[in-house]
């Protein structure tokens, strides 16, 4: 079936959502609607039909959301979509594409929740993607704000100071808590992630973060993953508190 190799499908996916997870999962909704549309005559879905552009598009999304094995995730999701589409043509009432979407979501979780803490906190699943969405905005904001800040000495000084503070905080909390990450710390961070998901968040100063903190910031603040290392947690928490969010509901903001 040519739909799997159509530029139309990839265009629809690209427009579907602001998050890579949303764009991956939209594949199933789009196919579901497409197969239900009465104006189309669907002949057959060729299993294993070449759909390299779709697989590549899904691969990009899988990489964006930080999948452990993005190639496999992309391949598996496309295979599931093809099988479900075939199934849907034989038994439209089974809603197989919507079930396939649930499967794909579980696979995304399987590939993104690493071990230990994150896996234990079941409520975490949606947070990650919301925060990931904010990364797109953050990059945009950074592009505008960044150049202005680069030459600002006071900003640099401020960040140097905060760097010092972070190191102190990290050291203190490490001593206090005997290197164990408590559930309270974790739930506090998750609450913040959840809150961020509701709004549009910015932290243009991210460009000025010391290099050694950049990866922690990207993974744990932008990526919404809980750090397992206590020092990292302190650093991540510090930056997490600095992110500014606008909680005007999307629709209201758009109508202004």
């Amino acid at each position: 079936m040519e739909i799997f190799d159509s530029p139309w499908l990839i265009n629809m996916l690209a427009k579907s959502s602001k998050t890579p997870q949303g764009r991956l999962l939209a594949l199933f909704d789009i196919l579901h609607d497409w197969l239900k549309a009465p104006s189309f005559e669907h002949t057959s879905v060729t299993l294993g039909a070449s759909c390299l552009s779709l697989v590549n598009y899904c691969l990009d999304q899988a990489k964006l959301l930080g999948a452990e094995n993005p190639e496999l995730l992309a391949e598996h999701i496309v295979l599931i979509a093809q099988n479900a589409a075939r199934h849907a043509m034989l038994q439209p009432e089974s809603n197989s594409l919507l079930h396939a979407k649930i499967v794909a979501n579980a696979l995304i979780q399987a590939q993104t929740q690493k071990t230990g803490l994150a896996a234990n906190l079941k409520s975490s699943r949606t947070v990650f993607y919301g925060v990931a969405a904010s990364m797109v905005m953050l990059i945009g904001a950074a592009a505008i704000w960044g150049p202005m800040l680069i030459h600002s000495r006071s900003a640099e000084a401020q960040l140097a100071q905060s760097d010092q503070r972070i190191n102190n905080t990290a050291a203190n909390s490490a001593e206090n808590q005997n290197k164990t990450l408590t559930a309270i710390d974790a739930s506090r961070m998750y609450a913040k992630y959840e809150q961020m998901r509701q709004g549009t968040c910015q932290f243009p100063e991210a460009l000025q973060i010391p290099d050694k903190h950049k990866s922690i910031y990207l993974e744990n603040v932008v990526g919404g993953k809980l750090p397992t290392d206590l020092d990292d947690l302190s650093v991540a928490n510090f930056y997490l508190e600095k992110v500014r969010c606008n909680f005007t509901p999307m629709l209201m903001a758009a109508s202004k």
């Binding site: 057959s44 496999l72 295979l79 099988n83 579980a106 399987a110």
Partner: protein, 187 residues
């Protein structure tokens, strides 16, 4: 059952799995099995019939093996469901794994009115029904939904593994299956 018939069946099964069904000629089968075309056609009137018999035997083997494993190692119905993907993993990651018969056959015979395609579609449904039965025994509310989900997950993983051995597809499918099953059990 004649030993020769068995021999032809297992030889054909090996060749179909390793070289593909369409690309394995009857000549190759008889040469490998050390018999003649005449004997082959005595037991199987056509290549198509031989393919159907190979598929039936292969599916039976897989289902029996899986069922025996689950019955021997899981006591409660929910436990059977939870262990399902453990044994699927064992099957798929075995060195001699060459793909799941009905999945490969339906890809090789995509025409929906082809008898091989029809049989492989039936086997696919049978497998989903088997999962549904496990889900029902475990008192899962939406047994239809869960069995469809697990069967889609399984098929995709088997195909990914067929395309690339050692892909880890089943490893992630197992985690995903756990998420899906746990979600259904607590509902």
């Amino acid at each position: 059952m004649s030993g020769l018939r068995e021999k032809i069946l297992s030889t054909a099964s090996d060749l179909f799995q390793t070289q593909g069904i369409n690309s394995t000629g009857v000549d190759t089968i008889v040469a490998t099995a050390g018999t003649t075309k005449m004997t082959l056609y005595k037991y199987f009137s056509s290549k198509e019939l031989l393919i159907l018999e190979v598929l039936k035997a292969g599916h039976q083997d897989f289902q029996t093996w899986l069922n025996d494993k689950l019955n021997a190692n899981a006591k409660h119905p929910a436990e059977k469901l939870q262990k399902l993907f453990d044994y699927i993993e064992e099957w798929i990651t075995a060195p001699e794994f060459n793909g799941i018969g009905f999945i490969k056959a339906s890809a090789e015979f995509p025409k929906e009115d082809n008898p091989v395609h029809i049989l492989s579609a039936e086997q696919s449904i049978q497998f989903q029904e088997y999962i549904k039965q496990l889900a029902n025994e475990a008192n899962i509310q939406d047994a239809d939904g869960l069995s469809l989900q697990l069967s889609l997950l399984f098929k995709g993983a088997a195909q990914a593994e067929q395309m690339k051995r050692g892909s880890d597809a089943i490893k992630y499918a197992k985690i995903a299956a756990k998420i899906l099953i746990d979600g259904s059990l607590t509902r």
